[in-house]
């Protein structure tokens, strides 16, 4: 779960990592109010979970409350690379004397954590790595020892940062560990003209699986199908095509999307009913997919393991019964294999539902679903 910049800075502030004074606003009037409490000049920053805000005009300077209100009005609602700015961060402007880069992240390949620190900040870290590789220090972090004050000092020294940055590097590690973060990045970390070290930006990704250890507000719901699916324990991702895809297991569903694409159609979604899914879960999944008006045909691809095919077949029959007329609106191609496949197939054929067609291979089922979507 990616945090907005203002949320990241709240976490920083709570742990004594200096950030510019400011606040978050969702209306121009609110932005004006925040600016009134700050010494001019201020900056107005679009809160979107994507890079390239500055180039897109999402970061504006303002000299006082009036200008802040006007700039906030321009930025709020702005679309930046597909992300709409619903909020702005209004902050006291800071003039850096020097800019650095600091991050902790999960090193998947080594199965550990990695510190990345550079004396060049404010730019894309890939550019730094390419133009001046020596300026980017990468240090694996022993997960059992972590980053203590000494390690933080060593990091600062190796990267050529002033010693007073070590305290911030140490506290950023505490954010990483105590918040169960997968990424903590500050770019730029700055030294101001009067010698203060400050995080001018912040990017934090939290591990949703660790939510049980933290008292966090749940992410704001958009009210869409993805939220409805999540509430039912389904893993659903909306895509741009016409063939609805539901299956068991992330790998098999991803593979099914690929096979549908190969058959010449674009998948409308990814929906994983998970391992050990009951008939009810299958019914919920089908109901979600048929709620999407973009869907022209549905492909159910199940390889029974923990999830048994008879449960899946029962779920399909239940869902179609509940959906009534809506269940007849689009064809459903079903492929069942694995545990209790014979029983599942029989349940479906006995039900004789006019929308359901069974195909016994994954490739064949994908071809039929793709063809039906094209013909619809």
């Amino acid at each position: 779960m990616d945090l907005y910049e203002y949320q990241a800075k709240e976490l920083f502030g709570r742990r004594g990592i200096p950030v510019p004074a400011g606040g978050v606003a969702t209306s121009p009037e609110q932005a004006r109010e925040i600016a009134t409490g700050l010494a001019a000049p201020v900056v107005v920053k679009a809160q979107v979970k994507t890079g390239g805000r500055g180039k897109a005009g999402g970061i504006r300077a303002a000299s006082g409350p009036g200008e802040t209100e006007a700039e906030a009005a321009r930025v709020l609602g702005m679309d930046i690379r597909g992300h709409v700015a619903h909020a702005v961060l209004v902050e006291a402007a800071t003039t850096p004397a020097e800019e650095y880069y600091a991050a902790y992240l999960v090193d998947r390949a080594e199965g550990t954590f990695l510190a990345m620190v550079s004396r060049h900040g404010g730019m894309d870290i890939e550019e730094v790595a390419a133009s001046d590789p020596d300026a980017l220090v990468r240090l694996p972090i022993d997960p059992l020892a972590g980053v203590d004050a000494d390690t933080a000092g060593l990091l600062a020294e190796k990267a050529g940062l002033p010693p007073e940055t070590a305290k911030v590097l140490h506290r950023l590690w505490q954010v990483m560990v105590e918040e169960d973060a997968l990424l903590v990045e500050v770019n730029p970390l700055v030294r101001t003209a009067d010698g203060r070290i400050m995080a001018l930006d912040g990017k934090v990704t939290l591990d949703g699986n660790a939510a049980f250890r933290h008292d966090r507000e749940p992410p704001a719901a958009s009210g869409g199908l993805e939220d409805r699916a999540r509430a039912k324990g389904l893993n659903y991702v909306k895509l741009a095509g016409r063939v609805g895809v539901v299956g068991n297991g992330a790998g098999l569903v991803m593979s099914t999307l690929d096979v549908v694409a190969q058959a010449g159609a674009a998948p409308a979604n990814f929906l994983d009913i998970g391992g050990g899914a009951s008939a009810q879960v299958m019914a919920d999944g089908l109901e979600i997919i048929l709620s999407d008006p973009d869907v022209r045909s549905v492909l159910v691809n199940v390889f029974g393991g923990i999830t048994t095919c008879d449960a899946v077949a029962t779920g399909i029959v239940t869902a179609l019964h509940q959906l009534g007329e809506r269940g007849l609106s689009r064809p459903i191609v079903v492929r069942l294999d694995g545990n209790n496949a014979e029983v599942g197939r029989r349940i479906l054929s006995d039900a004789r539902h006019p929308a359901v067609r069974q195909v016994f291979t994954m490739d064949g089922a994908a071809e039929l679903a793709a063809g039906l979507a094209a013909g619809a």
Partner: protein, 295 residues
């Protein structure tokens, strides 16, 4: 032969008295696994009746190891208890610990991996279906009846794709099939399994299943080029996955230009690994690779 798990493996199940633990213990027993004990803190002294076999429940892994000689642990406990459960297994020096649980925090996985590396335990998972050496033993939840013993080795990030490929190649059979899990950090990697299959005289060819996210497949390609002489075919899921969206598995996400299925396919093909576009094509490639090796 087989890797990591044989007919002599003595398996204990952490969380055996839970619903999933009980259900899958019964399946493991039916697959021929020598399940010697269950571990549930606070329930020691009881036993669970599985029909032909009654399995004792003990309070701690150490007690189970001392009492039964268990050398494999399969973990079915909820995510919040996984860290403590596996730490206990590592402390008891159990050689193999298979973590089925989905939703384990990455910080816990990193910590357990470091502890395991410092000790004598190999972790498989978390968030994996486990492993099966057909006809010998099964540690986890892979259905035992879709295939039989043979000479193909399989390593996969995905549970259901493991089943799919085992089914496609059921006439050939498998030495061992290992589901390593789809999380960002797992205890055992593709490379670990490739090396073990290379060293296993009972394995003639290897199927490797990857998916989007990370660079494990690219690293596996480098390993294959250097150290694997047996035929390897691969399948990579997620060609249609959009950037920035997690596709079910916590680790299955394309970030920027990295982690795409296309990049993984190209890295593997560059070292001579043939990569199927579908599971069925992958199975065909494996058959032709075996024919070439025989001819």
């Amino acid at each position: 032969m087989a890797i990591f798990l044989t007919k002599d493996s003595r398996v204990l199940v952490q969380g055996m008295t839970g619903a999933e633990g009980t259900r899958h213990t019964a399946r493991m027993l039916a697959a021929g696994t020598d399940v010697v004990a269950g571990v549930t803190p606070g329930k020691g002294g009881r036993s669970v009746d599985f029909g032909e076999r009654t399995v004792p429940v003990l309070d701690s892994v150490t007690a189970a190891v001392d009492g039964t000689g268990a050398d494999v642990s399969v973990v079915f406990v909820p995510p919040r208890f996984v860290r403590a459960a596996v730490e206990e297994t590592i402390a008891a020096s159990v050689p193999l610990c298979v973590v089925i649980t989905e939703g384990v925090p990455v910080h816990d996985a990193v910590r357990l991996r470091a502890l395991a590396a410092a000790g004598r335990t190999r972790i498989i998972g978390p968030n994996c279906p486990g492993l099966i050496s057909p006809g010998q033993s099964s540690a986890g939840i892979i259905p035992a009846d879709i295939t039989s013993a043979g000479r193909i080795g399989l390593v996969s990030k995905s549970g259901t794709l493991t089943y799919q490929l085992m089914y496609e190649l059921r006439d050939l059979g498998f030495s061992t099939a290992v589901g390593i899990g789809g999380d960002p950090v797992v205890g055992t990697t593709h490379i670990d399994c490739l090396q073990a299959f290379q060293d296993d005289p009972g394995t003639d060819a290897i199927v490797m299943i990857g998916e989007i996210g990370g660079d494990a497949e690219e690293r596996a390609a480098a390993c294959i080029a250097e150290r694997v002489t047996k035929p390897v075919v691969a399948y990579v899921a997620g060609f249609t996955a959009p950037e920035g969206r997690t596709m079910g598995h916590a680790g299955a996400i394309v970030s920027g230009s990295s982690g795409t299925a296309q990049a993984k396919k190209e890295a593997l093909e560059a070292v001579g690994v043939r990569v199927g576009r579908t599971p069925s094509e992958t199975a065909r490639l494996l058959r032709s690779a075996l024919e070439r090796a025989a001819g």
